[in-house]
């Protein structure tokens, strides 16, 4: 946990559930203690979106953000070092639904659908990511081979030190 987080906001956080509902789909669910229009606003206004999309614990900084959250609009997040995330909004329906493509993944890119459902002043958010194939989801999840390589790189360094 982030030790710098102040105790006020750390109290009683609503839980996040992540479920692989099929070979090609991941679903994330979370409730927010606020009406849907406000949660929706935070997903579609760049000045709000950038405040939460890149939490400090990710260890990354967003260099630039362009987003035109309207059906047919596009977005681009630039983290520097050639790390870009970009795509198109396939659907933006105020306060209820946002659908976008993740085109940095090329042919293996997923389509993300976020729905907002308000009940008694709270909002149930459901985010689904659908990949074109099981392999694409697996690869996106682990970057298995890459992660292994990275681990091996670290082990190599460690072993070199042990041998020295």
């Amino acid at each position: 946990m982030d030790a710098t987080r102040n105790s006020e906001s750390a109290t009683e956080r609503n839980p996040v559930t992540v479920e692989r509902t099929s070979e090609r789909e991941l679903v994330v669910t979370r409730t927010f203690d606020a009406p849907a229009r406000l949660v929706f606003e935070a997903w579609t206004k760049p000045e709000l979106f950038r405040k939460w999309w890149v939490p400090k614990s990710m260890g990354m900084t967003l260099r630039s953000l362009e987003m035109d959250a309207r059906t047919g609009g596009s977005y681009r997040l630039d983290f520097g070092d050639g790390m870009d995330f970009f795509g198109t909004y396939l659907e933006v329906t105020p306060h209820s639904r946002i659908v976008w493509t993740n085109e940095e993944g090329g042919d293996n890119g997923s389509v993300t659908t976020v729905t907002f459902e308000e009940k008694g002043g709270k909002t149930l958010l459901v985010m689904s990511e659908v990949y074109p194939s099981k392999e694409a989801l697996d690869a996106a999840g682990t970057g298995a081979a890459d992660a292994m390589h990275e681990t091996f790189g670290q082990l190599d360094d460690l072993l070199a030190q042990l041998h020295a």
Partner: protein, 120 residues
């Protein structure tokens, strides 16, 4: 996080302490290969390569499959997958994002209240 047991870690380190085996892993990281391919590439006998692959296979770092008369080797991701390690990482990311989103939404609610009062 993935809880690797000590014996498993030891066997992984032992497997990786050999430069040929690290080379084999690197090679398999790029593409799968048969034991014969690997033996040729590393200028070894088939028997020697079989031993190395056997060590890697026992740690789960490599998986092999016999197709006809050829034994194909590839990087084994089973251990990573079965632990659901990446799902957990993914969940941690969204947990962090959404708690930051809580703060943003809370701020919006506060502003709305103040604006509402000012209008009255």
């Amino acid at each position: 996080m993935v809880q690797y047991t000590q014996p498993h870690l030891d066997s992984v380190f032992a497997a990786l302490a050999d430069s040929t085996r690290r080379g084999v892993l690197e090679q398999l990281g790029r593409s799968e290969a048969s034991i014969t391919d690997l033996a040729n590439r590393f200028h070894m006998t088939l028997t020697g390569m079989k031993k190395h692959v056997g060590v890697l296979e026992r740690t789960g770092l490599v998986t092999t499959e016999k197709v006809g008369r050829v034994r194909n080797c590839r990087i084994g991701t089973r251990r990573l997958e079965e632990a659901g390690a990446w799902i957990e990482r993914y969940q941690q990311l969204w947990d962090a994002r959404f708690s930051a989103l809580d703060d943003v939404v809370e701020e919006l609610q506060r502003k709305e209240k103040i604006d509402g009062r000012n209008k009255k």
